[in-house]
């Protein structure tokens, strides 16, 4: 077992974009030269102090970083175990962690001379973040969004329109995130000359999983420094919700080589893993190829992709970022899941105990904490990423709780 352990968990992917057997570049030939160009440009940007300086400056003064590290006393007391700390990425401009990545990618787009931005969105948080940076830099923005998600997330649709983006509803398939991503890829392949595709999660063809992770790693870098400063030690456990997995990899990655820090990724179990109505690709899926990368996918025995379900529109994607697939197989990160019902209970718990309305996505992480925290000693430290705020979800929650608004 030990001889298979890598020396570092932080040196992936390899030069072909592989995280172990996962990741890679599975795209139509039209996109390949573009993907290779993006990889080259990203490598150059990483070495360019001016790029980093502009990224850092925007994160500080536009996004509002660093986000606070908050000790949650009443939740900790209620659960009666480990101390619970929240990385407050829901306090970012636009209300979620998505903006970190969008700032990085639009700077890359500008660097590459691209003049038109496209994106896909599920819950609408990435769409709003993309529309925001496009407004900030004066670039036209087209957001593909599943027709069903347009219905579920109408406040975010309006936000995107206010910010000047064109929202194109996608009716193919079940009209959710997966179908929006297909349509964005179709747009990109037809407009490669001037278009940059801002992918919202740490998935897609190489180098996207790597660059999204790097841009989101600001979460974990800040968290590590803040916890060391405030508690004098590293946390015992990190917890984050996982759809595609960008907030989780952003929190986890800077800690991967700290052997005492355990990590827990929480997938959406929807109505439960015993049926088909869930979005837990790692727990209920198999390795396969979709949207440019090899990773765990919800699929049938013929390799047809099955639709994910979660009460959280940001989690109901049938795949997961390839680095998570690799971290699962290496055993470095443990993955669990929470149902719609458990997430709803956790949502209300955080509202009641801490005066924080979380998004339904991190509510899944909180649901996992309610199970694990009581089993840990009181001097143990759990740090969870509060990756989005719940304003966008109040209609969904009201409906689920049977409340008329």
């Amino acid at each position: 077992m030990t001889e298979n352990k890598p020396n570092s968990f932080r040196n992936q992917p390899d030069d072909r974009g592989h995280f172990g057997q996962f990741g890679g570049r599975y795209v139509a030939e039209t996109l390949m030269p573009l993907i290779l160009g993006l990889e080259k440009e990203y490598k150059a940007a990483k070495e360019d102090p001016a790029f980093k300086a502009e990224f850092d400056d925007l994160l500080e003064h536009y996004v509002g970083r660093p986000s606070p590290m908050y000790f949650a006393p009443r939740l900790t007391e209620e659960l009666g175990g480990a101390q619970i700390w929240f990385k407050r990425d829901e306090l970012n401009h636009t209300g979620a962690h998505k903006i970190n990545n969008c700032i990085g990618q639009i700077l890359l787009a500008i660097r590459m001379g691209k003049t038109r931005i496209i994106a896909e969105t599920g819950a609408g948080q990435h769409g709003v973040a993309t529309a925001t940076v496009c407004a900030r830099f004066g670039l036209p923005c087209i957001v593909y969004m599943g027709a069903e998600d347009v219905r579920r997330q109408s406040p975010n649709v309006f936000r995107m329109k206010l910010l000047g983006a064109e929202v194109r509803p996608v009716t193919a398939g079940r009209g959710t995130l997966k179908d929006a991503m297909n349509e964005a890829l179709r747009d990109w392949v037809a407009n490669v000359h001037d278009t940059f595709y801002i992918i919202g999660t740490a998935a897609g063809p190489h180098p996207y999983p790597e660059l999204v992770r790097d841009f989101q790693s600001v979460i974990g870098k800040e968290a590590r420094a803040q916890l060391l400063d405030r508690t004098g030690k590293l946390p015992d456990l990190l917890v984050a919700a996982i759809g595609g997995g960008s907030n989780a990899i952003g929190l986890f990655h800077p800690f991967l080589d700290d052997p005492t820090v355990k990590m827990l990724g929480v997938e959406a179990a929807g109505h439960g893993l015993d049926g088909d109505e869930h979005a837990a690709s790692l727990a209920g899926g198999f390795p396969g190829v979709l949207h440019g990368n090899k990773t765990y996918l919800l699929q049938d025995e013929d390799g047809q992709i099955t639709e994910g379900h979660s009460i959280s529109a940001g989690l109901d994607y049938p795949g997961i970022g390839p680095e998570h697939a690799w971290l699962k197989e290496t055993g470095r990160v443990e993955y669990t899941h929470a149902t719609d019902t458990e997430a709803l209970e956790a949502f209300q718990l955080l509202c009641r105990t801490e005066g924080i309305i979380p998004a339904l996505e991190p509510s899944h992480a909180i649901a996992a904490i309610t199970k694990v925290a009581p089993t840990m000693p009181k001097d143990a430290i759990i740090c969870a990423n509060l990756c989005g705020r719940g304003d966008k979800d109040i209609f969904t929650v009201a409906e689920a709780l049977g409340v008329e608004m």
């Binding site: 599975y26 030939e29 290779l36 398939g173 991503m181 179709r186 037809a190 979709l290 013929d302």
Partner: protein
């Protein structure tokens, strides 16, 4: 000689695509051959055909909606091979259904079904090992795609270990939409010819006999897909006679360039 080299040695070839399981596939395939199709591309339906335009997307959805399984597609190929021993048959589709049970399983099944070549749209040459070695072991040609964005520096990568023919995608875009100007196609085919002896078939957006004839004058093959798939959608069980009629015109146009 392979079925491919036999076919392309006779001059410009008409390559016809339809989606397996959409309509009466056996009758439709027979109509393509009777109309004069030289090579058949049988589309394996996939839930997420992200390189395809609406016509072929809808064909995929119709086929899967009827419950088409991988085993059914392979059976259609097997039956076709029995009826048409000499017509080159290509399976075209996306990576996930092809590698789901492992590349060896797929290559073996395709071989037993009499498949000559496989086009895997989203398997970049960089990821060849996922399917290519298994196909080549069985003597099945991995057919690659080149596009207007594939420059001279990249062409050797695309052509390395490719076989059968090269599919030149004439426009940067999805299937069934606009068509490139013939002079652009001619220049690109000439450019690619400097890198390979493989026959070059040109597709994406080809709908009419006039377009097909113009392309046949500058390439080794012409691929028609969406126009045929639309006939299947429009005419259902009556599709064979309409397919035969269009394919006759297309074939005459392509073969007149011989």
């Amino acid at each position: 000689m392979t079925r491919f080299s036999d076919t392309f040695s006779r001059g410009p070839a008409l390559v016809c695509f339809i989606t397996a399981g959409d309509g009466d596939t056996a009758a439709n395939l027979d109509a393509l051959v009777e109309g004069g199709a030289d090579v058949i591309e049988l589309g394996m339906p996939f839930t997420d055909p992200m390189a395809d335009g609406p016509a072929i997307q809808n064909a995929n959805i119709r086929s899967l909606g009827k419950g088409t399984r991988t085993a059914d597609v392979l059976q259609m190929a097997t039956d076709f091979r029995a009826r048409h021993p000499d017509v080159p048959l290509v399976l075209m589709g996306y990576a996930n259904p092809m590698i789901r049970r492992g590349p060896e399983w797929f290559a073996d099944a395709a071989d037993r079904a009499g498949i000559d070549g496989v086009i895997c749209v989203d398997l970049a040459p960089e990821e060849d090992e996922d399917l290519g070695p298994a196909l080549r072991d069985k003597g099945i040609a991995p057919i690659r795609l080149a596009t207007p964005t594939t420059d001279d520096a990249r062409l050797p990568t695309v052509l390395d270990k490719s076989a059968g023919f090269l599919y030149y995608v004439s426009v940067a875009g999805i299937t069934g939409k606009q068509q490139a100007a013939v002079d652009t196609i001619e220049a690109n085919v000439a450019r690619i010819k400097q890198h390979t002896d493989l026959p070059i078939a040109v597709g994406f957006g080809v709908r009419t006999p006039e377009q097909a004839e113009a392309i046949a004058k500058v390439a080794d093959g012409v691929v028609v897909g969406s126009a045929l798939v639309e006939i299947v959608a429009e005419h259902g069980e009556k599709a064979p006679e309409h397919l035969r009629a269009l394919v006759e015109k297309l074939a005459n146009a392509v073969h007149s360039a011989r």
